[in-house]
């Protein structure tokens, strides 16, 4: 069969014809451009003999092949007392040896080939990725398969991973930005597994068997999607994948536990962490929405206008006009499986802490009071539509994106209709989305810094709960 080739049709015509000696210089405010016919690149979807879907995109620019397996697993499946289990599984799958090949040997073999295999588990997805020069594909694929399906979890490496995580826990309060980022997430997801964080106790309670069991339960051929891109021959590749991923007898049918949606009632809270620093870290927010909401297009535009660009309202007022911060913004992290978050953030000198907080809340509230201007809507729309093509600049990003859409169950045609859906959004849509999804009175507000230097006491913002930043690591 002819190797599948992606076709990207586009037409570039120089906007101004080049004549010898032409010195014409266009005005950036009014210049126009030839149309660019951008077609969304497609990846081929193939189903292996074992039933596993694979997205393929051949591209011969570089002599490299990239592959990623996405596995339906995540920290949301951890038992409450075992927070940190999935993180540790993700680390030790790679670091602990696999397929009977001890860790040192695997490291040596991979690095001698300049190949790489890495594994990790996030909140709702596990990933094992490899990259290799084409000439080393076969051996790297073997190691990739072993890491994915046959990790050895050697005892020594389990202990090393545990010690690394414990050390990271000891250091979790060193940087005020880390504290604030962690605490806003905990506050927003309080009561849900997405808000759990590992502790010395939970990490120290994990056994090697916990890791083995967790891996066995989720890392199976009927629970993953592959994405492959780069310089391969399609027939050889599919033969290799079919040989490598042979369906064994599945011990049991796959059961993914039901995980409830977070549904914390919206209720404001002020959370303070004391650090001896001259700048205050500020985070505020609450639950947001999922990709299944029809409002996601209005929200993407709202995001850009409120806090997602260099000319957003938050940036313009707090940074450009008032010089109160270097970094300021807000973002709806649209949840793919679980309700996502809205978080606004900045850092400002201790003496302008309350001023910045109040300004931010006021600017955010403004979104719920009046419709955005035509100019704002147009600027946001034009940016999001015209920059859409930057999601497709490498073969690896194209295949992993396709695989991710299937993994999270996006509707067919999501990418194809994305720009049209943005174009349809009106000012009224944005206003009603703002009223539905923004509730500044119910913000969890996290403030990390030195309250003795603040311009106003935090109590003027509400009832304050102070964080205990003292850690009590068990004596080693």
């Amino acid at each position: 069969m002819r190797p599948f080739l992606v076709f990207i049709c586009y037409l570039v015509i120089s906007a101004t014809p080049v004549y010898a000696g032409d010195q014409h210089q266009a005005n950036p405010r009014t210049m126009t451009f030839a149309a660019l016919n951008f077609q969304i690149p497609k990846a081929e979807r193939v189903v292996l003999e074992c039933g596993m879907p694979v997205y393929l995109l051949r591209d011969t620019e570089l002599p490299i092949i990239n592959m990623t397996a996405m596995v339906r697993v995540g920290s949301v499946y951890e038992p409450a007392a075992k927070t940190g289990l999935s993180d540790m599984v993700g680390r030790v799958m790679r670091s602990g040896g696999a397929g009977g090949v001890p860790p040192e040997q695997m490291d040596d073999e991979l690095e001698f080939m300049a190949s790489s295999v890495e594994s990790s588990i996030g909140s709702d997805m596990g990933m094992v990725s490899m990259t290799t020069l084409g000439k080393n594909f076969s051996r790297t694929l073997d190691i990739f398969r072993n890491v994915l399906l046959l990790p050895d979890f050697s005892g020594n490496r389990v202990e090393i991973a545990r010690r690394h995580i414990v050390e990271a826990l000891r250091r979790q309060n060193d940087d005020p930005k880390d504290i604030a980022g962690r605490e806003i997430n905990r506050a927003i997801y309080a009561g849900h597994s997405l808000g759990e964080i590992a502790t010395f106790e939970s990490i120290n309670s994990l056994t090697r068997q916990d890791l083995v069991d967790f891996h066995q339960r989720f890392f199976r051929l009927d629970n993953m999607i592959l994405a492959v891109s780069g310089d391969f021959d399609r027939t050889s590749l599919l033969n290799a994948l079919n040989t490598t991923f042979k369906s064994g007898k599945n011990r049991t049918s796959l059961i993914l536990p039901k995980v409830p949606q977070p549904d914390q009632p919206l209720q404001g809270e002020v959370i303070y962490g004391k650090k001896d620093v001259n700048q205050t870290v500020i985070r505020m927010g609450h639950l947001g929405l999922t990709k299944d909401s029809p409002d996601i297009y209005a929200i993407r535009l709202l995001d850009y206008i409120l806090g997602g660009s260099f000319t957003s309202r938050l940036m313009m007022e707090i940074r450009t006009n008032q010089g109160l911060a270097y970094s300021v913004g807000s973002h709806f992290d649209i949840g793919r499986r679980f309700t996502g978050t809205f978080i606004a953030e900045t850092e400002t000198k201790a003496e302008s802490t309350a001023k910045a907080i109040n300004l931010m809340k006021q600017i955010i509230s403004g979104m719920t009071k009046e419709p955005v201007s035509d100019a704002e809507l147009n600027a946001a729309r034009e940016y999001l539509i015209n920059s859409f093509m930057f999601g497709f600049t490498s073969p690896a990003s194209i295949v992993t994106q396709r695989a991710r859409l299937e993994y999270y169950g996006y509707p067919d045609g999501y990418l194809e209709q994305y720009r049209d859906n943005l174009a349809k959004v009106t000012k009224v849509d944005i206003l009603s989305a703002a009223r539905k999804y923004l509730h500044p009175d119910a913000f969890k507000l996290v403030v990390v810094g030195d309250a003795t230097k603040f311009d106003q006491p935090l109590t003027t913002l509400g009832q304050v709960r102070e964080l205990d930043l003292k850690l009590n690591p068990p004596k080693p």
Partner: protein, 494 residues
Amino acid sequence: MKTILAAVTLLAAFATTIHAATLEEKVVEHSMKNGMKLLLVERHTSPTVAAWIRFKVGSVDERSDERGIAHMLEHMLFKGTTTLGTTDYAAEKPILDKIEAVAQKLMNEKARREKADPAKIAELEKQLAVLESDASKYVVKDEFFELYSKHGGTGYNAFTSRDGTTYLINLPANKLELWAAIESDRLQNAVLREFYTERSVVMEERRRSYDADPENKLWETFVASSFLAHPYGQPTIGWMSDIEYLTRSKAERFFRDYYAPNNAIVAIVGDIDTRKTIAMVERYFGAIKPGKEIPPVTTIEPAQSGERRIELIAEAEPALIMGFHKPAIGTPDDYVFDVITMILGTGRTSRFYKDLVIEKQITSDIGVFDAPGTRYPNLFIVSANPRAPHTIKEVEEAILAELDTLKTTPVAERDLLRILNKIEYEEARRMGTNGGLARNLTEYEATAGSWRYMTEHRGKIAKVTPADIMRVATTYFTPLNRTVGLITKKGGDK
């Protein structure tokens, strides 16, 4: 180069194409009459293009009374020109001049410190606020950004380092002319409006990046302590009191003196027609007059005559940085350091990882790199955080033991071969993104004198021998040449 690649492809069962296009063949170099250097690469993977401009001037080129100005100017160059970012420059300009006069009076008064007159300061601050408010009526805020964004531009940004200053953007390929129009205007007609508000933004940037982040604060202190004479020691962002006394006039002088086409390197990588692109860039930039060359920094850091140790007390767990002075990029010993860096610090087979992380388990994190710049003699750095209950001392001793081994035991051939394989892979990988390639082309053209540093690098590394490594380790890894910085936890470990 070609022969090596062809041989590789013959062996490759999965690679099906001959990869004829090496970097050497892909880059088109064009020198303009005014001295501006263009580096172009056609990549037709997606209908996008990356455009980077690098000026060969960084914080190392600052005078001592203007530290932070290179970075401050980088911020200011987003504020527009005589035609962009303003509704009426003719009306705006006299107000900007008044702002500058009042701001300078205010700074002069504040510089009197405890002798300053608070009433005078308050009055001048009031005047400044009124004038700034007047001027703001003419400002079209962040118009460069608005223009790029509405046309789909992404990643519009800039960064300043010791060695240089770079401005970058990614655009849909049909809109590259917008870049030429904006950037050529910016180079000739920049107006540094809103200077004193932006200066407050930079102070917040400093607080965020250094003052309130213990590891970065240690880093800044460590680098400053490593250089007594050479300006590499000074932080690019400037010390807080330096920033407080930066003026628009200083920034304008820096801009006039250094931002000239002969000090600029442009890389355009992506879905372009090379010939037409050169013509287009010539049309916009060709008439700009060259300026003076940037004089080299003549200060030479005196040889260290003893170990330097610095300590930072912070609300944070212990951390360690160790540095040794070493030569600049492109010198024979620098290639040997590249090999040493990879042997000690790259990947899970590196010596530090195997010994300190896996075997002794005294750290969970160790890094090896060059800093703070590369154009001038710099530092070989090892940075590690001890894993409790292990101490800084244990980590330090283990690092020194590995450095000593390099002096006495020849490195195995297989280790050197692994490094060459890694470089071969990286050579291929780095051609995979427009922005990454543009970054490397401008960086090496500016710091090593030619982008060909990249294509020649593997050959230079292949010539490094085990004896070279022993010699370099013995020469440089000495107590006299060493600086050590550490964080001690405030109040001890309670």
